[in-house]
Symmetry: C2
Subunit: 536 residues, 2 copies
């Protein structure tokens, strides 16, 4: 297996965009070697003396790594935090104090004098932690990979698209994809080429046939050389790509010389299969008690197969520490890392030093093992949230394993949802009535993706009216619940991968407490039943 | 005076770039009104529950606002911070503790649950502080101005240039300008049109004549409609534009329909005139003891004259709190603010929540008056640094008030520097010998800008050799001092506003402690004398 050899990334510099080439080398050009030499007095930059930083130290009380249990019985541990707040029992949470002084005793220690100064590529201590993390968790197939901190995956993708894609060029992505990624590229005239999905996410068969049959004239642009993909907890559909499929896609990308941009915020939210409430045991810990086994159970990153250095992976702390940390990193070849660094120098520069130093101090206090334990705890929390959320749909609707093999859901665990009448008379008779929507329990991430069967809704497609998806969306919003309409996520908004009679919603189970989730599902159920004119 | 009326910004939407127009409205489009309504349950976004933020609180010990004296006798107060560190007497500094809990008791208080979440336009409390600050300090000429936080002026300018300038278009700027601003635009094919400077900074006469005589064919692009300017502590020259000149420039911009981008990081580092050491009194406080008088003495922002809303002002906390705060803000018309917000949504997003909440808590603890006192203290520190630095040049060279009225330095306080021989024989005889360089004491900012007289240097212009500026720069660097070579700052690098026999250096006095500054000037003096073959 080529992917198991540890190689050096090959030169893929022909992929750089005109903008990236025009950036030239470092702004310091030939004089760079004189900067930053030990013992040299630098009077070059406009750096304020750290005495003028009004912060003498910063600190925090941080949770211990095993704050969340590995218990998969569906308890809402997130609500405890609120409970402790309201009843003044915050001391019940186990915490550790961390602090960062303005000046440190040793160069090993993080100091504000460094963290709050202008600074190139981020804190050395963070860099070291991330190197260990990437090496152990993702195991890149070549050894000279680079890590470059950024201010979150939005910044990450923004830098990548400017570094690799010229205006007028297109890029490959899943037929349903992350809206914000499109909002980044569309205004630049870089358009998404949607690839159909099957049960394993992006279809390798469709990818190959689209590339092989690419007609430059008919398409109006040359064959894409960049792929943007969310392979784990695919946004919005919630799929997770298997290892086999990743290898297939990677090999096609080698064949057609494509750079893979792996946007992977949900990697540590991979969840075991959904087991209906009635079949789950009431007291159980997760499948993996040992962190190494848990990590080994996760679908590998594209990095593991990337013996050529054609993967740019985007990681973020937004989902595991906090979105407001505005901190993440690129893992990629040194060539791309250098260009991405230059790209960042004229926009975001280095991530915020307050955030960098606090997160770095947290991670170096927890250490690698502690952070993995924290991630595992968070993963179990999201599994519990997903299970609770689907259970709640089961309370409001008849959820029935599907027999219909809907399109790209073939061979997946699909549930069809039918209206539950007050007396459940029809159900008892085996008559389910109107099928309202279907879904696949997500295997990772924060969202459930519903396909709504407007073909069963009388009058929903009356000509002249708003599309039924929007009609129903507005009614749910007016009843007090805001969810995401499906059309947000069509890679090609003009030609969404769906027909007129269908609609989709993406619903997040990541934020609200369990009681609020239950209330929201009740509201959705009531509005839906009324919309479908299903009598109670 | 039109500028004294408080008007509403006029519609200048015809200035938006193609990229900005292509961004459309909000990503939420027509559904935006349903988001964020009170009482609504949102299951739309991928927001983690704040229970999963591992930070239970963050805090800091911050200096009190009057930590730096208003004493202008040139004491190096910045070194005390190091002193206290090394002698373990950190407790000698007067500090206040601030902290930010995960959940706050009232909505007035900053909380991590809000600050560390995804969030649109930054913390409400910071917004409120900045509104008060801009209103009181800059006094914009129209009342419906908007404030939008960004991650520092690099991000600020990056968003502006993408929002206003199309590739291939040009923009106006001072003939010497901030390198990084050019590094942002050049790769996009947006080129700087240099405007000559006189003693007040950008020349209004030259600006008008360049605009009036604009020849689209000869220039290869249409007349610029954007100006990038650093009017206070002009980078690199250190000039500060007078109120009268600003009005002249503003009126020309009204006439030619130009948007003014006022990049103003050094606003609160405006310094009184340099008085030679021998003439300064040894014990004196600054000219302004009252903060209101000090503020009133500062050159006004372009905002004060901006009755049409054609100014986009960039402010940053980098110089007054810390560069690593990566925090600043745009002040501009609501039209531009909305476009700049959209532009940021696909790159930096909101500034880091750790930084935002700590800076906000600092400012709301200090309050407006405290922050103004802090700024005044910092201003005095930089005045002391500048004075010390020039004094040190005076120790190493003969500094003589210039009689030569060099080019755009006409009517400024100019010093010529001559080599000081060991015995000072020539000087005593009134013979000064070789004039090495000249400079104008900066009236704001962190830098001194030297013009080096290579015409007096035998052999420096030998054909085939590197330009003398670089030859000397390398020798100084090899001797252990790194400064900035002048060619970095030429708005038009191909045609720098200088002749072959001249060279320039920008030297920063902002960072090093006083002893190091003295050591650096000694090194520079020795290398220069050797380079100019001036016998000791």
């Amino acid at each position: 297996m080529a992917s198991e050899k540890r190689q050096k990334a090959i030169d893929l510099s022909h992929h750089l965009s005109d903008l990236s080439r025009a950036r030239g080398v470092s702004p310091l050009k030939g004089l760079a070697k004189y900067f930053g030499r030990p013992g040299v007095i630098s009077l070059a930059g406009g750096l304020p003396n750290p005495a003028y930083f009004p912060f003498n130290n910063i600190g925090a009380d941080v949770l211990v790594p095993d704050s969340f249990s590995l218990n998969t019985t569906g308890q809402d541990e997130s609500s405890l935090s609120w409970f402790w707040k309201f009843f003044g029992r915050a001391g019940k949470e186990r915490t550790t104090s961390i602090s960062i002084p303005k000046f440190s005793e040793t160069t090993e220690q993080v100091s504000l004098a460094v963290a709050l100064q202008y600074g190139g590529i981020g804190l050395r201590q963070l860099q070291a932690f991330l190197n260990e993390f990437v090496e152990k968790v993702y195991q890149p197939a070549y050894s000279d990979f680079s890590i470059l901190v950024h201010t979150g995956n939005t910044d990450g993708w923004s830098r990548v698209m400017q570094t690799l894609i010229n205006p007028g060029e297109s890029f490959l992505t899943e037929e349903w994809t992350y809206t914000s990624a499109l909002a980044t590229t569309n205004p630049h005239g870089m358009h998404a080429v949607p690839i159909p999905m099957d049960k394993d996410g992006m279809s390798s068969t469709d990818l190959r046939s689209i590339l092989a049959g690419w007609d430059e004239k008919a398409r109006g642009c040359k064959r894409p050389h960049v792929m943007y993909t969310v392979p784990v907890g695919q946004n919005p559909c919630g799929y997770t790509m298997s290892s086999i499929r990743k290898k297939e896609i990677y090999n096609i990308c080698v064949e057609y010389d494509i750079i893979i941009v792996e946007d992977d915020p949900y990697y540590f939210m991979q969840q075991e299969d959904y087991v209906p409430k009635s079949e789950r045991s009431s007291q159980s810990t997760g499948k993996y008690v040992n962190e190494a086994d848990w990590l080994a159970s996760l679908s590998p990153s594209y990095l593991k197969f990337d013996y050529q250095g054609r993967v740019i992976r985007l990681d973020t702390f937004s989902k595991y520490i906090a979105p407001g940390s505005r901190l993440g990193w690129h893992t990629c070849s040194p060539l791309f890392a250098e260009r991405l660094e230059r790209q960042g120098e004229t926009s975001t520069q280095t991530p915020c030093g307050f955030g960098q130093s606090l997160v770095t101090q947290l991670l170096t206090t927890w250490k690698y093992d502690g952070y993995i334990r924290w991630l595992h705890g968070i993963a179990v929390q999201y599994k519990n949230r997903r299970d609770f959320f689907i259970d709640t749909f089961g309370d409001e609707f008849h959820l029935v394993p599907s027999t219909s093999n809907i399109g790209f859901w073939k061979d997946r665990q699909v549930f069809d949802a039918y209206a539950k009448s007050k007396k459940c008379v029809m159900a008892e008779k085996g008559e389910l009535g109107t099928k309202l929507f279907s879904f696949v329990p997500p295997s990772a991430g924060m969202f459930i993706w519903l396909k709504v069967h407007f073909e069963n809704c009388p009058g929903a497609n009356a000509s002249g009216a708003e599309r039924p998806e929007i009609q129903l969306w507005v009614k749910i919003a007016e009843a007090g619940v805001v969810i995401s309409p499906g059309w947000f996520f069509a890679a090609d908004e003009e030609n969404p991968p769906t027909d007129e009679t269908e609609g989709h919603f993406r619903i997040s189970f990541s934020y609200a407490d369990f009681e609020t989730l239950r209330k929201a599902v009740k509201i959705i159920a009531n509005v839906m039943k009324e919309f479908f004119r299903v009598s109670d």
